[in-house]
Symmetry: C2
Subunit: 215 residues, 2 copies
Amino acid sequence: MPKLVARCITISLDGFSAAKGQALDAPFGKDGMRLMEWAFATKYFAKMTGQEGGAEGLDNDFLVHSDDNIGATIMGRNMFGPVRGPWGDEQWTGWWGDDPPYHHPVFILTHHPRDPVAMEGGTTFHFVTDGIESALEQAKKAAGAKDVMLWGGGHVVQQYLAAGLLDELELHVVPVLLGGGSRLLDNLGDADVRLEQVRAVEAPGVTHLKYRSVR
Amino acid sequence: MPKLVARCITISLDGFSAAKGQALDAPFGKDGMRLMEWAFATKYFAKMTGQEGGAEGLDNDFLVHSDDNIGATIMGRNMFGPVRGPWGDEQWTGWWGDDPPYHHPVFILTHHPRDPVAMEGGTTFHFVTDGIESALEQAKKAAGAKDVMLWGGGHVVQQYLAAGLLDELELHVVPVLLGGGSRLLDNLGDADVRLEQVRAVEAPGVTHLKYRSVR
């Protein structure tokens, strides 16, 4: 049964996935890059950003395997780009250049319709205006027998989690206290979400936690 | 160098140490007892509550060793009892009967003065009205070469953490989403608290996390 999975989400010990002061040149907020140091040090990240080197090992393995068996991706529009409101001249096609690292259909949650954009390498951006259930349905159909990756941001993860639609949640907890910002596991209200701990893995300076939903 | 340590604090994955609806007969809030299931199952807990049995192993070890080298305890008045405001007839001497499980001086943060109360077994309750620094100073003096345990509640832990006075924080994270309640790592504001991950240990249904302050 194909799953909706959220992986590669780093949070501070006090639960924030971004610090206060998020801006175009500070996507993780003021001083929020501290969240990502463990990931930046990996070979996976080096490769993704066209650099040599980077560390192998436990942290790298988590990132490498986060891509396993993924056939489609869902993300919020703020992860796709800085454009707010209507899409205007439709020149914005994401942060990732002509050949985005997805190589499969990507469904972007937005209130503003836009025609699909086919990129190089098999990535096509689809813009979904009729809600999270619809996006999931379309993504599962596109993924076939594979899983669907929920890429974020935090508010999108919250919505899928509260709706009981998320099957797997993988968090990376770093020993940082941000004191404010965007809290990942917030706004869940009275949603009765039951989780099961799959594993907890200690690495230097980061704890990898994996959970799955119990229904 | 004697330390101020907070241990045995269980939080939900979304960071709450108690659910909404805390009351005298529901100290962890409505449905909040789910936080404590891992601890209730241990031999340590059974022994503490005068019962037979209970599980040994990893979880039990954490609880057993939480008492190691502790010479004094600090707690907020709400952990000491349900009395609010002035102490009235001073009949309340804690939840723990005539022989409380501390066997050392316990410093209770309160705005209302009261004379010390000597219990059986070496526990004496001292009431501190001049703030957290004073309580820590008195507790360290009383503990001698040993460490001081910060027992809670959450707001007291926050105050010591934000003031940079906490040396060690041990958390137990359970795969529960409460959606609301008392968040342990909250109200830290702009406090620049630097932590270092000491260890992360996976156990069935709970992850034990230990951090120490870096100064």
